[in-house]
Symmetry: D2
Subunit: 351 residues, 4 copies
């Protein structure tokens, strides 16, 4: 019963992996904005499956159809309904899962909570539902054109980029399918994923997101702090296990005399351990945060499991899936961040 995200700029999402279509309704989009439809479709393409050998072979064109709220290329202030058809369905791939609970999947919890579930392709729990987030994020970017949001893969398994984002050329992120702007590391990440894939295994990773040109004043204390809403968004992405911003977990190891960001006379700060946010409100410095993703639970290996009657069974590796989720997670992280910032911008004019 919680398929709406946002307060002023709101996405209400619907759809299952193997239903007719997925989609959503975006409410609160300001009127009279000319939409860049190529950009919107391009964001979807960045997320879609089948982009490279690093991702699942499910081949979806992810063609976006807007149903309302747009007139002669501009937003009208009325809700924007949209759908993306599910086309490349092989639902019979999932017949063997009708009663089975896959380890570390949501089969068990959906079954117990709702007493029924669409088992095909993970149903509503499928990462396919993130396509709606990407659409909403692309629209949100039209509200905050001054803000630049750039995410990239920061780690694959135990291999981690050791540089700070300031030392990277973020324009290189899209140069490789693994979406790491350090091309040497990108190579290592791709090798790691390829190797894991060969073993029928999967691997986790991390995505870092950098947000520049944020106006001072976004975020609503005390219960909708900017960092809290970003964390809320990110932890709603399937497979995410952790979130840190600014100095993050490392900051907890520091002393105040080292951690405090001393002001320059113009209100900027000499360091930015704060991560661009103070008291839940943006301070104009770069916002940056890192998101941890667990390894994909679907393996191309046999695994012991149970069915809903409590019978033990062995699941064979079948179906189509990503060996590592982080390359495709990059546009999702960016999109969710854009939704959060656009919403706070619209809220802030009302403070």
């Amino acid at each position: 019963m919680s398929n709406t995200f946002g307060k002023i700029f709101r996405l209400t999402s619907f759809g299952e992996s193997h239903g007719m279509s997925i989609g959503g309704v975006i409410d609160g989009m300001p009127s009279n904005i000319s939409l860049d439809f190529d950009m919107i479709q391009n964001e979807l393409n960045r997320r879609k499956p089948g982009q490279s050998h690093l991702t699942t072979t499910r081949n979806e064109s992810d063609e976006l159809v807007f149903l309302s709220g747009i007139f002669e290329g501009k937003t009208t202030g009325t809700p924007i309904g949209f759908i993306i058809e599910n086309t490349n369905l092989r639902s019979t791939d999932y017949n063997h899962l009708k009663d089975a609970f896959r380890p570390s999947h949501a089969d068990f919890t959906y079954e117990k909570k709702y007493g029924i579930r669409d088992y095909r392709g993970g149903g509503r729990a499928s990462a396919r539902t993130t396509a709606s987030i990407v659409v909403a994020g692309a629209l949100a970017r039209h509200i905050i054109p001054e803000i630049k949001i750039s995410a990239y893969v920061n780690a694959v398994g135990d291999i981690k980029l050791n540089q700070s984002y300031q030392d990277l050329d973020l324009s290189l992120t899209e140069k490789t399918p693994v979406r790491c702007p350090d091309l040497t590391m990108a190579q290592k990440f791709m090798e790691k994923i390829t190797q894991v894939k060969k073993q029928g295994d999967t691997v986790g990773g991390q995505v870092t997101c950098v947000i520049k040109n944020v106006p001072v004043g976004l975020g609503e204390p005390v219960f909708d702090k900017l960092q809290a809403r970003l964390a809320y968004a990110m932890l709603n992405i399937p497979a995410v296990k952790g979130f840190e911003y600014g100095s993050g977990f490392n900051g907890s190891r520091m002393t105040g005399s080292k951690h405090n960001d001393i002001f320059n006379p113009d209100g900027t700060t000499q360091t930015n351990y704060s991560g661009g946010i103070q008291g839940g409100i943006s301070n104009g410095m770069d916002i940056y945060f890192t998101v941890a993703f667990k390894p994909v639970a679907t393996l191309m290996q046999s695994q012991k499991s149970i069915d809903k009657f409590g019978n033990e069974l062995v699941l064979e590796g079948k179906g189509r899936h990503d060996p590592c989720v982080v390359p495709r997670a990059v546009p999702i992280v960016e999109a969710f961040a854009a939704m959060v910032l656009a919403d706070f911008k619209l809220m802030n004019v009302r403070s």
Copy 2:
């Protein structure tokens, strides 16, 4: 404009550090529940300042007064208004801060966002506002009596408890003022804090929270997943920089074949990297998460800063503050977790 937390069980909070009182309104509390007033006040006492030499010397009795919603000791289903007077005020301590922006405090951002701020004691950005969370959490516990929530200090600065929560006796947490159940480590934590305090410095730390006996089915996909709401709550606590649950950041380094939690025939799992949540819904296993806190920004040292006119100045160490926030954060983390779980329990009634 975002001072309400929760969907069914909702706290609306108000109050500044040096105003007349802080307080709140709790709406959505089920009727006909006998309240344990001693427990509620006791939770407040766990959070209040002046408990030990590890905490600020501001001395507040934090006496809770309920104004409505309770009749003959029981909840009536109507909103519960409450206040806690601010008594031990030394507002003149803050006169020198009228125009100053303290480093890594919210002075700058509140001033820029609102064009005005109550500079006394941090105003609304003060951690004093967390007392309302503790009250709401104590009421929330009445809704989920079967669930056991236990938080403890897991790290102070760079000293970290290396054991998993399973290896700890959580009944020992309150034995020391630093709230670490490993008493040897507790000693080290206290020494660290004492040492840092002597230097007029502060230090960060981490709190881990364990939630047992959670019924299967709590959490509302896809945009109010249980882990997402927990992260949202925790990142709304002042000074929090990061959140991870289950395998957390470490999980991102693992392969799927290691990370997957294999089912037992009864639906429990052999491992619990998932942290008690699958697809945003509790699976009945323990929920556990860790929260990272930055070092307190107020130092007993001189620091360079600026005022709101852009003039440089030097701030002398003054006022009363905690050298390390994590011991007092323990009841806040627990309270917020209780609010989240109670809310999801009420939401789950008829999914």
Copy 3:
């Protein structure tokens, strides 16, 4: 930015009169309910245009397509997306209205508020958007199968049914296209509408709704009283100018000694001026209310008006429209009432 209705059971609606399709997303529908698809489509058919000579000649099949949230005929607890294609479009009918503001239409206010509008067929302000309400209402009825909701036409222009609903056989409502269960009055209503239509004019009317078998306890004081939410729903229907429940406006003329409903020993009351609600909460007696509709603003007569540049112009009677809105309003009133009651039922299990 307010296209969502309800708190637990929520419809988010989208679509314009002459866009690709209208539709919505229903969130909060309980899981595991077998849907009666014939009933749902039938409710849509009761609302659709072109049913009789009393209604507009726009001919829409109003074929409902569910996109998600349903598996093997049952609800899954996930959001239910649906669309209804717009087929019988004659958008060129509206070219002459591109810049014109029709009297007592929303052309002027949409233009001023949003700076842009889809002028074809009234765009988002079209009564066509009420089809989504009818779909949501039909789903809501599955949540409250014990409750019986029956609306009927109570007045057309200055001709008014003088009987109370108790004296009517509500099973006769659908016997005539005008939806009045008193068949003699139905005849008069139809004659009135026919006569007005011949003159190229339109006429207002009233709809009364009766709700039986309501459990005691629905409604949430103090700001979401049952009568308040019903009024809120009804005043959101296009063309509605007034709402009264129970004794209504007439009750304001009475004395307390006449108006008070004296209890029977079983908690029922001897009279029901209260209209089944006390203090915002249902008391188990019949709920009844009446809704006033203004005459349709589109006439088949010439009218003076202006365009958006302030030029005067004459609008010719063109396009397709209803001479009287109340017959088709009957299923809309019922549907909105069903949504309200279902939502309160879901809220009440949480009190």
Copy 4:
């Protein structure tokens, strides 16, 4: 669980008739507004009991205390907590009502819904809770200083003012305690109330509200239309049975050719049957609406009733109450209207 009203400008209310105090929290109030404290208290005084012989003799000073959100006389953008003490309590007056259900009161429904109730003075169902609305309304007026809201008594029992508001001098409303600007009618209204009071009886009435200088563009279609939110607000006032705006119920009797409001070249209209709203959005013309109130249910006469065990009993006329609610309802209607308009103004900033 629904004690919050509004979307951006939000009042969360608490308190019972005979608890320690009533009060609320106002969130979303813009910052940096100088408050007119005399005006705010004066609005409370207009509502308070004991103003004249026409009202209850309960004597409450209704002294307002602000607890937060205001600094040096200005709003800070943080939530504004406030309380009003309950002082003139005679709770023992209600001992005989401990188990009794008074006719047409909320005793029965609260008991059944919550299983417990504070029976003293009607508890949460008391009209005393409307004091919080008046406070919030007075703050809301600071957001919309350009808008003029004037309500007055339009009818007492079967005596009704026949003039339109345009023919009245609304500056005379406060000249008499009955708050009717036609002083001849005011006299008749007062006589009627006095006569009814002598008989130990009560009488209903109507309040009309006129809103001038409304900017074009307030209101949020399709589910938060301006008229819908006004109706929602008004029907949440205790004792309200009906709402109509613009032409209202009378408009339902008219033909379109008479009812349509023809534009002047400047966008104003020659008539205003629309009541200042088209398609749910203000059009800049006067908004006007009428609210019907039932007679107060508490009589100074004996009445048959029952207790919660189903025993019959006779209630003696006791306690303190108003013989007619409409004079004191005038500031409540105005306050709620102000809250609605302020909220829509804040919502409209960036539609």
